[in-house]
């Protein structure tokens, strides 16, 4: 039953080291050991933020230094890395981080979710369900879900220790009292394994249900805030809510204009200066896979759908407009 782990393939890794002059995956070994120990304790205490000695990376804090350090500590020469930024593989942050590891670790990279063994992400979870063989690494700007309620670290640490989360529930309730619903659309707080309240990073709340009992291991790195945390596979992750105001996710009236997907998170894209716009999948790989499989969207023309009779079941019924996608700082 046990998979034997033999010496990893060395050639590519050794060549990379010789060519770049950097240690494998950039970080020195002592830093990696420190990060690895933090990751293991994070897995042992799901949802708890383990402090770690975050290093200076060759890009500014706020651009994914936490995620990069976690990936650097985890990745090996036999891994295949995918990096996404708001779901897309082809945005600046994603392209740079991918090429950083291609250069410093010599690892294979991919844009296909199913081919990746390590996926580093900024603000999305891929639409394609992840498997047991994959590790999802989140870039986290503010790891402390209680930070906006209590600025003092000494206090929030005590609140976590005592499982004192009343303030969080009050803040969600205040939303309901003021607006009739919980208005938090991203970075929606979750409770992990019934104990720790955790920030899921600024993913849209649309992605929260994917975290629950996910077969893949989820690791979170916050570089500036120097915290690592984790959700082991098949662990309960519950979005905070109330019995009479249950948690709901965003829905759209539209399907993806390119691939017709009715089940994915959509980005609003402005197409001209006359108010023209279309909605497309935020997950570029998912959209690509669907288009390759022959799915076609309406190209942004609502009449198209009617003309070409896209099955109604494909389109979700919903009342909430899209467009409240994660903002926040670039992490």
């Amino acid at each position: 039953m046990a998979d034997v782990i033999d010496h990893p393939s060395r050639t590519a890794a050794a060549e990379t080291r010789a060519a770049t002059g950097y240690n494998f995956a950039y970080l020195d070994e002592q830093t990696k050991r420190m990060i690895r120990r933090a990751i293991l304790k994070g897995v042992a205490v799901p949802g708890y933020q383990v402090p770690f000695g975050s290093r200076e990376m060759p890009l500014p804090y706020g651009w994914g230094t936490g995620g990069i350090q976690v990936t650097a500590a985890v990745i090996g020469p036999d891994d295949t890395l995918k990096v996404i930024d708001q779901g897309a593989d082809d945005t600046t942050n994603a392209v740079n981080i991918r090429s950083f590891f291609a250069k410093t670790a010599g690892v294979a990279t991919t844009e296909k979710t199913v081919e990746a063994s390590v996926i580093q992400t900024r603000h999305r979870i891929p639409e394609t369900p992840l498997s047991e063989d994959q590790i999802l690494v989140y870039q986290v700007p503010i790891p402390e879900p209680l930070r906006w309620l209590e600025p003092r670290e000494t206090e929030t640490r005590k609140m976590h220790a005592l499982e004192e989360y009343g303030a969080m529930h009050v803040s969600l309730y205040e939303d309901i009292a003021k607006y009739g619903r919980i208005t938090k659309s991203y970075n929606y707080p979750v409770k992990v394994n019934g104990r720790y309240v955790m920030s899921p990073s600024p993913i849209p709340k649309f992605d929260n249900p994917k975290m629950d009992r996910m077969p893949a291991l989820q690791l979170f790195g916050a570089g500036r805030e120097k915290r690592i945390y984790a959700v082991p596979p098949y662990t309960r992750v519950k979005s905070l809510d109330f019995e009479d105001h249950p948690f709901t996710i965003e829905t759209w009236d539209q399907c993806c204009a390119l691939c017709g997907a009715g089940d994915s998170y959509l980005d609003e894209v402005v197409t001209d200066d006359k108010g023209g716009k279309m909605y497309v999948c935020s997950d570029s790989d998912y959209c690509e896979q669907r288009r390759e499989a022959g799915h076609v969207g309406d190209g942004g023309d609502p009449a198209y759908a009617a003309r070409n009779q896209i099955p109604a079941g494909d389109a979700p019924a919903g009342d909430e407009p899209a467009g409240d996608e994660p903002a926040g700082d670039k992490q």
Binding site: M1, H7, R10, E29, K41, V45, G76, H160, R236
Partner: protein, 198 residues
């Protein structure tokens, strides 16, 4: 101090072998009870198992005090750890970040560092050398990392360990984590794992 020639060799490639070992431990910790075998270290210092030595090489250093149980604390083991890991070796297991013990003479689990509610990560990770690990039989495991339940048979443990493990679980978020070792094979039990004896 033993002469240099008596020190058993460490990893052939410290960088990549550490990474492979860490991933095995991470996988084991994320999926409690699942077995991982590391064919990375052929000649560990007696009486340490290959997986015990490999885990220490990958994770132990000057920042992590190590405790070695008296029955395993040979000159060879101590020299190996001091030379390769550069770690302080402590006599008080409540001060250890990592500990090595044999299954038969595993000291009471309550004597290790359990961390505190504000910093639960400061607990000891205990490496336990068993005489046999097998999946699909024996104990029933459940908890985070396990889809439904997982079976793991652990041989050679002294009696009473699983009762103490239950007490360890009650301490959550405090508590120790176990890495069970059998030769080159390892499995892990984080503090969240519930163990039911069949």
């Amino acid at each position: 101090m033993a002469p240099m020639t008596d020190i058993k060799p460490g990893f052939r490639d410290p960088v990549l072998d550490s990474q492979a070992t860490f991933r095995a431990v991470l996988d084991a910790m994320a999926r409690p009870g699942r077995l991982r075998t590391l064919a990375l270290l052929e000649d560990p210092p007696a009486p340490l198992a290959p997986a015990t030595a490999a885990v220490c090489l990958a994770l132990v250093d000057q920042d992590t005090p190590l405790w070695i149980a008296p029955d395993l604390r040979s000159q060879a083991a101590e020299t190996f750890m001091k030379f390769h890991c550069g770690c302080p070796i402590v006599d008080d297991r409540a001060k250890a970040a990592f500990a090595i013990a044999s299954a038969a003479k595993l000291p009471s689990l309550g004597g290790f560092a359990i961390g505190d509610d504000a910093y639960p990560e400061t607990s000891t990770t205990v490496i336990v050398q068993t005489v046999g690990l097998a999946a699909g039989d024996g104990l029933t495991l459940s908890g985070p990392g396990i889809e439904d339940t997982h079976r793991l048979a652990v041989s050679g443990l002294r009696s009473g360990v699983w009762r103490e493990w239950m007490e360890n679980g009650v301490l959550f978020p405090c508590g120790i984590d176990l890495i069970l070792v059998d030769g080159a094979t390892l499995a892990a039990l984080p503090r969240t794992t519930t163990v039911t004896e069949a």
